[in-house]
Symmetry: D2
């Protein structure tokens, strides 16, 4: 273990976002630890576009993008056949989603809709006792308009739609819920909620203490409260898959899929899983990297609830609900060079497109569910004695 | 909505991993939807290195990398002052982690250790009834050696260390746990477990039906079973922060931090959160993209348990436990151009380095915890009447 | 295994609630299986009071009642020193609660308050697709008054206060929340919600299908949704315990308690527990049996969140929040012979007393937390080398 | 609020378990608060049998017992047609279970089996750092025999079967798992584990500090770790219900039940529920009170996983798994007057009967599931337009 700490990363306080500064830092890395960053240095983006996206810029990660699709989406906002850019280093991922997309498209496409929309910051107020905490909730009700004014004064986009409350001991946990336009909105709602809290602290007779997050916004963390109350967009994708198509393309029947669903539903329940589906995180991570989303949001966004049934006609209805899909078409990394191209490929670059993009995300997730679930099962059944005709009484 | 489906993405069955094929597909995109992929086309990696990492390659996502550190790590495997490449588009992320790293380094560094190591595939066996399912567990015990042999015959690296069992109804849910060397190992254990299941099915007198995943491996999904039983590496990072340093650099005291911990612990518990800490996902996502990890694993890897105490000397002990950190230094995207450079920067490229890398990951997460938790609190207390001397009896 | 089924239990369709009928059934038991029910036959209640409480009455379980207290409660509704009847067969339970009550009373008593009040029935509506389900939520908003009228027409007591909605796939899960006066109210809200659903089905143009419970009322089941959104009464009990008193009576210091709290909070979080406290179920089960509550509600009512801090004066603030306490002072078993006496002993028999009773329940739970947590710790520390002076740097 | 505290409950240190002492305390209640305990005073049990069951005895709660059954059980230990004593004050409960029992018996009875058996005490060891904590786990492995000897020296019945470990920060959370014969065993394993911990503390070179419960035994609390790892007995009851019988007796078809199962499975998953079934707590609470079980264990025991399928013959397979059924046929309240009669009625009084009793418990729970689930559905479908022939494509 070295005894003298190594020097700080060099930084130019005047203008740090230049190719030269990036080079300076890469040189620094070579000097300090002997590693050449030749490929990291190979990029086409303009470093001057990066303030607000990165600090101590040295270059880029080149993450391969594969093209899946076309995927037919019949959403309320996204309508058409989409080619989907997926940035990943995991072999077969693109091919697997592609397979699902083909099936879904041939089945007529994916219906998709955004059913709720709310981003939170969740301050906790700490009072002297439980009665005071409860009374604060009443006071907040009585001053809802002023609180909203204070919050919304900080933003031209965000709208405060609800202040949830959860009393514990001498504390009032709250969740301030906002719509945030086409942005993901975490910073927007942080700033607005800070203003709201300051207003409350100033104006409430007890000037209650608060911490801006009492942890129930569960920012960058999966949670049950997200499953229930939504974070970001709550999006649902659904399709009905003809039995013949399933058998032909996937080698499984609706009955086999449905039978296996019971195993995975029970297993997910016992395991306390964030999803009773297969692998939403795979498709979302690939889409998020490609399109400049905040990739850490995979932690929350991968929560999912699959619901399916065999229809009266013997076909297979399949839906996936994403209760906490956090996406944007403006802000964050969405305006960067490759990211913007990928959003554009989906017709989702810029304002007014976030719901369409959310619908596409959910449709992609459904494609992944269809493909992987069928593959796991077909693999099993191929090898299974069951398939060769042995008859079981149950399961 | 278009009535005729769009054409499939062009693909060369002979050799699809060439710059020309990537260009063909980009041209296809421009023809079909008019989007130019000029920046996506700008890459230095060699497409011929990409089989096994991507299909339908069109180019790359350029994700900006910032340099944080140095971070002193006193691990069992990672020892030294590290400069950490973080690929993100979220402004302040690198700066914030950097701040935490500086504090931790000045406090003497982060102790880190890998305390468990196991990757799962979790087949469910479906029997005729509960007694048969229970008896299968006994049969598996009696044939453990043969089953291990069958599994390990498929891999030169993976070692089967345990077969967990969870009985529900007529089903025996299992988790086959393996060590997987320096790989993340999901595919390795999938193949091995398939072989084991086939052996069981062939040799057990009832030839029991199974599905290769009963969902309790919770692959690409956070779960409570991961919190308890580990997935990937279970890694712990810890440090003791002198009170004076905390106050000077972060503007908070151990007492303030500890008081606020009670709010966030209670909130996390009520919310059913995947972490009682602040934002492990942020640091992990940035590290994962930079170093060629499977980014979808953020879904599982962000699970975390923070535990802290004020010490007898009035300083602040802070630990974070990552029960499901899924990382690799070989395989997947770890060998690609920029990714390998970033791993090399951490001294973690190639075989024999995965534990060191896991320790660094945990240390980085701890840096993020220290930085953000202090910032939230300092922001609050600055504005709080509390700080100006009002004396509260409680909380 | 017998091959001919045994006969049905005898039943008098005219008047089944007589001592003679009970005797007939006890005779039947003796004939069929040779068991004498001599003690079961020993009761003072009047069988004619039992319609609506039991079917096929044969006698009673005699559950011993012990007297704990006095417990000083400074609630909003319960104020005074209470002697608490606890029906249990678990030795030391009464003694342990008694010990906690004494400490709390000497510390000035327990503050207690009911902060929320809502009982649910949670129908799920199943539509043709997700858009229809979402639109149903809007339609329900637009017809809230009529729906409330339909629901409240079935009850003179219940008031519909909110209709929560949670969209998944083609389904709209709802929770109809009511206040239910002094009753627990499960039947009341079931009937009211059925009427509301029928109104919706009749009047909505699609006549949507529904099932009266989509399982998210989580009736008789612990759940995270209860932790967050309350079921029954949300009650908080709190007290500040002087350090000197704790040491003298319990042999522990606030610092020791607080240190151990960190272990149990972390453990509870990792285990996915229904409570981060010690044993709410013990006190509640004993109180519920004694006072004629529906004892199955222990499943929901034992959920609890303990929050504590060391105060600036070095004393120990301790609170427990019960988010799903389901209790009644009218209806169910509250009017039966011994049960009514026990409620009367607490000044809680009959209308207008349920909030006082809820406060007492929470205060009793707090007494149990104080007693057991201290005992576990004192036991440990007595035997621990730590106590004899060894100095640890951390934890 | 009274200003002078009320006096303590009178207690005779020589012999407190006499009718006279009970009378003294009832008189005391009348004097202090004016409440007569005439019915509480009416009991046939002998107070001298109560040491170890209650303190400050004043009399009994008379809880009405109804007789359900016969219920045919084809267990591994329980075999026959049982009349089931259920102590409750909730009207229709006995009738509803009775209905389910009849159906199950006519369908050939309930298969039931105990598939696991383990009771825990879960000490947490607190070390100086994570490495020491991890190493302690290794040390425990190396000294497993001595630790077992130390634990088992305290009990003639309990057998230590496993020491589970869960590392977090500087702590090693453990669960010491025992078989406990026919007892529930919480006290037995507490004493044994205390001895084991003391042995570890004495013999380990660091004399590690511990607390006897780190909360992951989740004693008297539902938890996810119980769902997975069992607490008490893991019991499964299952039956296949002929379609014709279901329709005739319950007015529902297998297809309707199965369709609705998808709603309740999804709802339970979203709600974070302790059960994806209907109401295990109802049957268990009634059985527990009647038979002298520790009723607080309903908190843990009500956890349940229902798994069902439509069989190839169109019938309905239905199973319920209770992962944490905590029951006894010796010790606790099982020897008291009415309680022993009720156990005797089930052929389950005394040693060697606990597995039979556990099987009966699970079979009773299944009867409740069958009855309530069918009732909810039949009620819905009766009123539903669906039933009258409207044809829906999906769900």
């Amino acid at each position: 273990m070295t005894s003298r700490p190594r020097p700080s990363v060099p930084r130019d306080k005047q203008d740090d976002y230049t190719p030269e500064q990036a080079q300076t830092r890469r040189d620094f890395v070579r000097e300090q630890i002997g590693t050449s960053l030749a490929h990291v240095a190979s990029y086409s983006l303009d470093p001057s576009t990066l303030p607000g996206n990165i600090e101590n810029f040295v270059g880029v990660a080149q993450v391969p993008i594969g093209l899946a699709g076309p995927l037919r989406v019949n959403g309320e906002h996204a309508q058409g056949d989409y080619y989907v850019p997926m940035a990943t280093t995991e072999g077969t991922l693109v091919a697997s989603y592609n397979r699902g997309m083909r099936l879904l498209s041939e089945a007529g496409g994916v219906r998709a809709t955004v059913v709720d929309d709310r981003m939170q910051r969740a301050p906790v107020f700490v009072l002297d006792n439980a009665v005071d905490a409860r009374d604060l909730a009443g006071w907040i009700d009585a001053h809802e308009d002023e609180i909203r004014d204070a919050a919304e004064a900080t933003t031209s986009v965000g709208r405060l739609v609800e202040i949830e409350r959860y009393a514990v001991g001498p504390m009032l946990y709250t969740r301030f819920d906002y719509t945030t336009g086409d942005a993901a909105g975490q910073n927007m709602v942080g700033k607005a909620t800070f203003a709201a809290c300051e207003w409350i602290q100033r104006n409430h007779p007890d000037h209650p203490r608060y911490v801006l997050s009492g942890a129930i916004d569960t920012d960058k963390k999966h949670s049950q409260v997200n499953m229930l109350r939504t974070r970001g967009r709550r999006v649902i994708a659904e399709a009905t898959l003809p039995a013949a198509l399933l058998e032909e393309q996937m080698g499984v029947t609706p009955q086999q899929l449905f039978r296996a669903r019971q195993y995975s539903q029970t297993g997910s329940f016992m395991a306390g899983s964030a999803s009773n589906g297969a692998h939403a995180a795979n498709g979302l991570a690939a889409l998020f990297i490609a399109t400049g989303q905040d990739v850490a949001n995979v932690a929350e966004s991968h929560a999912s609830m699959v619901y399916s049934q065999v229809t009266d006609t013997g076909d297979y209805y399949w839906s996936v609900t994403l209760p906490a899909l956090i996406v944007a078409t403006v802000g964050g990394g969405t305006g960067l060079a490759t990211q913007r191209e990928c959003l554009a490929m989906l017709g989702c670059a810029g304002p007014g497109r976030v719901r369409a993009f959310a619908e596409i995300c959910a449709a992609v997730v459904l494609a992944g569910e269809v493909s992987l679930s069928s593959a796991v099962l077909a693999g099993d059944w191929v090898t299974s004695h069951e398939r060769l005709g042995r008859n079981r009484e149950i399961q």
